[in-house]
């Protein structure tokens, strides 16, 4: 049995003043008893104020550190405060909160340490651009091949982690700009189990995507390099909590 008090809902946010409040209210609607933590990643707008007004607890980075580090700050908060589970979703409103109870059910039923919401399992992925879709397919297939399990959406930010995975993520081994395919591969090679559940993703209603400009080129090269290096490393051992 999972109590809502054991769950921390984690929302990394960077310049999401106009959207993060609705995300928090959406979470409240579906998981009223959970604590909501917004990690404000050095936003230049009123993200922190909007989050507090909507009733969330806010941790503010003194400057922008990237989404991977913002998530790790949230994991550190969860471990320090004794939370057993973290469910994370983006602060831009693309992840519908009605899937939160599905994550809770899966956390209860599954032995997996990490649950990923995949937008490709439902077959409705209208918001995904060609580049992003191609990247997902490429890295999804590559990771699936390497871990011998099917993963369709390695870039999804809608995830749930158990305390076992949290213990892993608070260490310095977790040094991912974008905790995507390379993170999943590292986690799997350390003995953690990963499963996917189908989710829907809504179109962006504003703000700037972290994958704009020349970033996709950097992302692709870096991800290939990162996966190659991970394969050269010795496997680490799973931490038990």
């Amino acid at each position: 049995m999972i109590s809502e008090k054991d769950i921390l809902v984690l929302i990394p946010a960077y310049n999401e003043e106009g959207r993060v409040g609705d995300v928090i209210r959406g979470v409240r609607q579906y998981l009223p008893g959970t604590k909501i933590l917004v990690v404000n990643d050095g936003s230049g707008d009123g993200t922190a104020r909007a989050s507090k007004e909507a009733g969330a607890c806010v941790v503010s980075h003194p400057f922008n550190l990237g989404v991977g580090t913002a998530l790790q700050t949230g994991y550190k908060y969860a471990v320090q405060h004794g939370y057993q589970y973290v469910i994370q979703l983006d602060g831009d409103g693309q992840h519908p909160p009605n899937f939160l109870p599905v994550f809770v059910t899966k956390l209860k039923e599954s032995s997996a340490d990490l649950i990923i919401g995949s937008r490709f399992l439902l077959g409705r992925n209208s918001d995904v651009t060609f580049g992003r879709s191609a990247g997902n397919a490429l890295f999804g297939k590559l990771v699936s091949l390497l871990i011998h399990e099917k993963l369709t959406d390695p870039t999804s930010g809608y995830r749930a982690l158990k305390s076992t995975a949290l213990q892993f993520c608070v260490q310095d081994i977790y040094a991912f700009d974008y905790p995507d395919a390379d993170f999943l591969l590292t986690l799997h090679r350390s003995g953690y189990r990963i499963v996917e559940i189908p989710i829907e993703v809504l179109p962006r209603t504003g703000g700037n995507s972290q994958h704009g400009g020349l970033k996709p080129i950097y992302y692709t090269i870096k991800m290939f390099l990162s996966i190659f290096i991970i394969l050269l490393r010795k496997k680490s051992v799973k931490t038990t909590s």
Binding site: V59, L65, T73, K76, D172
Partner: protein, 114 residues
């Protein structure tokens, strides 16, 4: 090496040496980083004074012109220096990240306790 070039190289070596000492004295450069630059200055002076070193090294690695050996060694040295600084930056990046996270978490704890 011509006498004019020898004087020029010795002067460059001495300038690096004295410049680094002055930067450390003014606390603009930490001692730990000054060491590597002092070695560079010393090597410059040594190569200029001890004229057999460059031809010997050229013979050793199979380079015809000693001047090319100097360029080659300088390039290798600069690349190693860049690698050393990249290592230091990587370590500092992790330290800054951990500090920023700790600061953010402590600030939140402090606000919660008020």
């Amino acid at each position: 090496m011509s006498p004019r070039l020898k004087i020029f190289v010795v002067l460059i070596g001495l300038a690096i040496f004295l410049g680094i000492i002055e930067l450390v004295r003014r606390r603009k450069l930490r001692e730990e980083y000054s060491f590597i630059w002092l070695v560079i200055g010393f090597v410059f002076v040594l190569i200029a004074i001890e004229t057999d070193i460059l031809p010997f090294l050229s013979e050793l690695v199979g380079i015809t012109l000693p001047a090319n050996t100097l360029f080659f060694l300088t390039l290798i040295f600069v690349m190693l220096l860049c690698l050393y600084f990249s290592l230091r930056i990587s370590a500092l990046t992790t330290q800054v990240k951990n500090l920023a996270q700790r600061l953010a978490l402590l600030q939140t704890k402090d606000e919660d306790s008020k």
